[in-house]
């Protein structure tokens, strides 16, 4: 997780909120700064999503086609990530498995859901293997592996993608910044990199990326399920 923390962010905060370094305790002035900051962040994420669409719109459609083909052939989805990204992985898995409304449920596992397995592997072998070992146990050729990391550098994701690639799974990476070490892997077939210096904006756009993959995959599956 260390690479995701940055001293630069602290300096950026200081520049954004100069009153923190003054003696003022004027509540109205602080509220006004905070209000403006909220507007700025909303505008930032709108711009960032435009960039993601421009860079990766076609790749999202292609990836969803392949995911739909995998599900149609009996494939399952395995999702994984650390920290905030673990909650995204669980959300993504549950979105496929237990969608609200009329959407078709599809088989998906969140690899951070089972604390017994995660802590057993971490304690007995090391945290770097927690996802790779689960993929080795569950993963079949034609399954889909989706890993999320803001830095792109999480060691346990890198090992998981290599294991998934060896097993012939469809591999999907969702990263941030410049893609980090995930962008150097040969084992990731579809890599989506959200180019932002803010870990928060990266996570927000990553959520859009996996929501898009879900919606487009279901749309691509419709003719299959009705045919």
């Amino acid at each position: 997780m260390a690479p995701e923390r940055s001293r630069a962010h602290t300096d950026e905060m200081a520049a954004l909120y100069p009153f923190l370094y003054s003696e003022t305790s004027d509540l109205d002035a602080v509220l006004e700064q905070v209000r403006r900051s909220t507007v700025d962040k909303a505008n930032e994420i709108v711009e960032l999503r435009d960039t993601v669409l421009e860079r990766d719109g076609a790749k999202l459609a292609a990836c969803a086609e392949e995911m739909a083909a995998s599900f149609a052939a009996g494939g399952r989805l395995l999702a994984f990530g650390n920290g905030g990204s673990s909650t995204d992985a669980q959300d993504l898995a549950s979105l496929f498995l237990s969608p609200a409304g009329a959407a078709r449920p599809l088989p998906a596992f969140g690899l951070t859901n089972d604390i017994a397995v995660v802590t057993a592997l971490s304690n007995d072998i090391g945290f770097d293997v927690v996802f790779a070992r689960q993929i080795a146990a569950f993963g079949r050729a034609g399954d889909i592996a989706v890993g999320l990391s803001t830095s792109g550098n999480s060691a346990n994701l890198l090992r998981a993608f290599d294991e998934a690639g060896r097993r012939g799974m469809v591999t999907v990476g969702i990263a941030g910044y410049d893609g980090g070490k995930m962008s150097e892997l040969d084992s990731i077939e579809y890599l989506f990199v959200v180019p932002s210096p803010s870990v928060h904006r990266i996570q927000e756009a990553q959520t859009t990326v996996y929501h898009a993959l879900w919606e487009l995959t279901l749309a691509a599956l419709e003719p299959v399920s009705e045919g």
């Binding site: 997780m1 995701e4 923390r5 940055s6 001293r7 962010h9 602290t10 905060m13 909120y17 009153f19 923190l20 003022t24 305790s25 509540l27 602080v30 509220l31 006004e32 700064q33 905070v34 209000r35 900051s37 909220t38 507007v39 962040k41 909303a42 505008n43 994420i45 709108v46 999503r49 435009d50 993601v52 669409l53 719109g57 076609a58 999202l60 459609a61 920290g83 905030g84 673990s86 909650t87 995204d88 669980q90 959300d91 549950s94 979105l95 237990s98 609200a100 803001t150 870990v199 928060h200 996570q203 927000e204 959520t207 859009t208 929501h211 898009a212 879900w214 919606e215 487009l216 749309a219």
Partner: protein
């Protein structure tokens, strides 16, 4: 891009659907700022943040908790926060004995202190157990904040809640994305107030 030829550019349409709801959040910036200040006051007094939701928002509850407990930005202090969705034994135990509607209310009664903050997340604003949780939190004296979507649902219509932020979209995926931006902003701006203790002093708060 949207509306001209439905289905002609599904990816473009999908992205376009996100824009207005997040800009609408910017329109609620005053409410966001007030909620952040109120949260900072509670943390300053020793309160903790208690977060809950169902389905997708159950993962958001865990995301919010880790955001506060383990900040991604160096130099930000850890603040106490728990998700009521992580303890599967308790969630399934209460659901089995008393019903799903009580799973958050029960935990709040035994884990929360009056100085705490209750943050309930519901994509359509109609989750019975989130509403029950917020009602119990109100009775106990917690600061209550709700993140809802759609038209705000029953939660937005509930009297007595301190802060209700509504993500204006009928698409639960878009609502979730606005909620992620909202709680990221809440985290960051709580710290802005927290680092300026002058604005948290009783005479300023009152």
């Amino acid at each position: 891009m949207s509306g001209t030829h439905p289905g002609a550019d599904p990816v473009g349409e999908l992205f376009a659907r996100r824009t207005d709801p997040v800009l609408d959040l910017a329109g609620q910036a005053e409410d966001v700022a007030r909620a952040c200040h109120a949260m900072a006051v509670r943390f300053h007094r020793g309160g903790k943040l208690v977060v809950f939701g169902n389905g997708g928002p159950s993962t958001d509850a865990q995301h919010v908790a880790v955001e506060f407990v383990h900040p991604v930005i160096v130099g930000k202090r850890a603040l106490p926060a728990i998700s009521l969705t992580a303890d599967v034994a308790t969630v399934t135990g209460v659901a089995n004995r008393e019903g799903l509607a009580e799973v958050f209310a029960h935990q709040l009664r035994f884990l929360a202190d009056p100085v705490d903050i209750a943050l309930g997340i519901s994509s359509d604003g109609n989750c019975e157990n989130v509403l029950r949780g917020l009602e119990v939190a109100t009775e106990l004296g917690l600061l209550t904040i709700a993140l809802t979507g759609g038209d705000g649902g029953r939660i937005a219509g509930t009297p007595g809640l301190d802060h209700v932020l509504v993500a204006r979209s009928a698409d639960p995926r878009v609502v979730k994305e606005v909620h992620v931006t909202t709680y990221h902003v809440l985290w960051e701006l709580v710290h802005v107030f927290f680092e300026q203790p002058g604005v948290l002093a009783p005479e300023v708060v009152a």
